[in-house]
Symmetry: C2
Amino acid sequence: MPSLRFTIAHRSDECHARVGRVETLHGGFDTPAFMPVGTAGAMKGLTPEQMRGTGTQILLNNAYHLMLRPGADLVDRRGGVHAFMRWDGPILTDSGGYQAFSMADISSIDDDGVTFKSIVDGSRVHLTPERSIEVQNDLGADIIMAFDDCPPGRDPASAGERDAAADAARLRVAHERTVRWVQRCRRAHRRPDEQALFGIVQGGTDLDLRRESVEAVCAVDLPGYAIGGVAVGEGPELMAAVVEHTAPLLPADRPRYLMGVGYERDLLTAIRAGVDMFDCVLPTRNGRNAQAFTRSGRLHLRNARFTEDDGVLDPECDCEVCRGGFTRAYVRHLFMAREMLGPILVSMHNIRHFQALMVDIRRAIRENAWSALLGSWPVLASDLSPPAARDVPASHQGRE
Amino acid sequence: MPSLRFTIAHRSDECHARVGRVETLHGGFDTPAFMPVGTAGAMKGLTPEQMRGTGTQILLNNAYHLMLRPGADLVDRRGGVHAFMRWDGPILTDSGGYQAFSMADISSIDDDGVTFKSIVDGSRVHLTPERSIEVQNDLGADIIMAFDDCPPGRDPASAGERDAAADAARLRVAHERTVRWVQRCRRAHRRPDEQALFGIVQGGTDLDLRRESVEAVCAVDLPGYAIGGVAVGEGPELMAAVVEHTAPLLPADRPRYLMGVGYERDLLTAIRAGVDMFDCVLPTRNGRNAQAFTRSGRLHLRNARFTEDDGVLDPECDCEVCRGGFTRAYVRHLFMAREMLGPILVSMHNIRHFQALMVDIRRAIRENAWSALLGSWPVLASDLSPPAARDVPASHQGRE
């Protein structure tokens, strides 16, 4: 079989949403799919077995982090990232582009690549499309991502005239560079029979540029395409506009992946626009910060009002934590006592929250049952206004 | 049934060791038993389900910590500590005596009790035998401990003459106070039909005083007795001498509990002297510090020699981590990357290590197969010299 096979089982007749399945050499996953983020080859606080218990079918690792520590060659010598982290299901690795551009202390960017300072030991690291693919070939994930130029985003309305012009110029550079880089990535890819390389579309909030980017990137024949450069500070309305514009332009017979998104409402919007795959750190990052997602909104569990609350995190949830009867009072106690079990339980619950949402969305697509979906997930009907994630900078919503 | 029933199934014919079972209202456990320590109503990093997976049948909570946060009355209103932490098996609570004397900023000690500063909010806390029992009655564990006076220990040979005299005087005060306090504890105990109160023997390293303490404490008819005041800085040889002297003096028909011990060799010594129950923080505390117990000794997993070690933590181990194929190289990576999963995996492994040791010791007792035991656990035959637990102060080996 090819490195990746995508079959669409059902298309919504009232929007672009579709239900399908992706098969890889390490098994398959249902789409639309939510991928939790195990940055450095580990889910923060959860064993692979616990991850399976959340209904997770595929997860994401960051080439950037694993390249810097312990090194992709070391992971390769261990048999690749599946063997290393003991997750035998599908894995996707991010290319390092986003991290190099957003997190690193950059000393230079040019058409060759990016040079930055390692967060691990301060050494100078040079990352190019070829090097990113080499790293991802060594790691051995089932889906690997093209190395893209991913500049920070900004709502044009909030930028001054000169800034807006500079942003626009930067977006065009990023788009053009990303197109050249995806071609270099494809040429550098040593394991196309085992690993599916996805291209990434850029273009920021400029819808015309998005169309140009789709046309140029999708001219390179690849098994899947992603929308990059969203959730980078542009705000939820603009993000929705970009996704609704861009997703339907991507080839209908390939998986479409929206990178680094997001909140429940964002996922639904994107799925209705035809997106099939998502990754986001929100369940685990917010979980570590005592924030539980529920069908009717988020709970800040350190809040004193939960001190004697004998309810579970979400009475509708079927996760190990809620089924197990762990109460809000207990989980609050764990956070107040700085017990590791607090982040563990809330992360586990949050991941299941997102996986259960995907299960229900897939059912809604198949059965055209959107109002039932909104009825059982009130959070989907909440405002599109910026989420009150006090501990998550808006510019850094979903990736790490 | 009474709050606790102890049956001895087999007695060794070559030492004081015995195999038995303790039944409580929340189920039973086999003896000799090892109790992992879930200080504040949570195992550090492990869910109750994972704890069951290690073969743990009973665990320990600290009244001291739960009293200060979230408060014993709050736990009582949640249905007690079993319901609160979602552990439906047997639980033992420590009285708070050890913590009040060893960890607290003490402002006064007298025959009434101890006054110290709360580690949580700095407030003044007064702990008496009556208050400790009230707290433990509220928490609702199956076995509760008398409030004892537990002074720090010291090898008399390493103390100057004046210090030795002062230590001896302090030990006598502690012994006499502990005897008066166990009587007050018994009178204060409101739930003797549900919770078994154990007395605690003191006496330090003075064997005559130990005998006096046994006689006086065991004159109070209680369902079990513990040896306290060991592993408090006296060193392993003196500890062994105290335990070998004291354990056989305790009533043979009641469970004997050695508090805060210890390393594998210490457990075997004590079991051969007739001890039935142990608790120790070593598996989890050392686990958090990247130290894995194995049948042939401890591994410091941050050591560079494990960088490319594809072996599991202990090839003989049947824990979820070793069975699951997580390698030393991977676990080292987790610690280097400061991933929570490192402490989780090593704690899980270490707890199973101790539970598997107890399984094998119980078999050795039943079958008189001591040499087979030593053959499969080389660590038991290692020196009695002070263990090289660099990250664990000797004076604070096993309790917290």
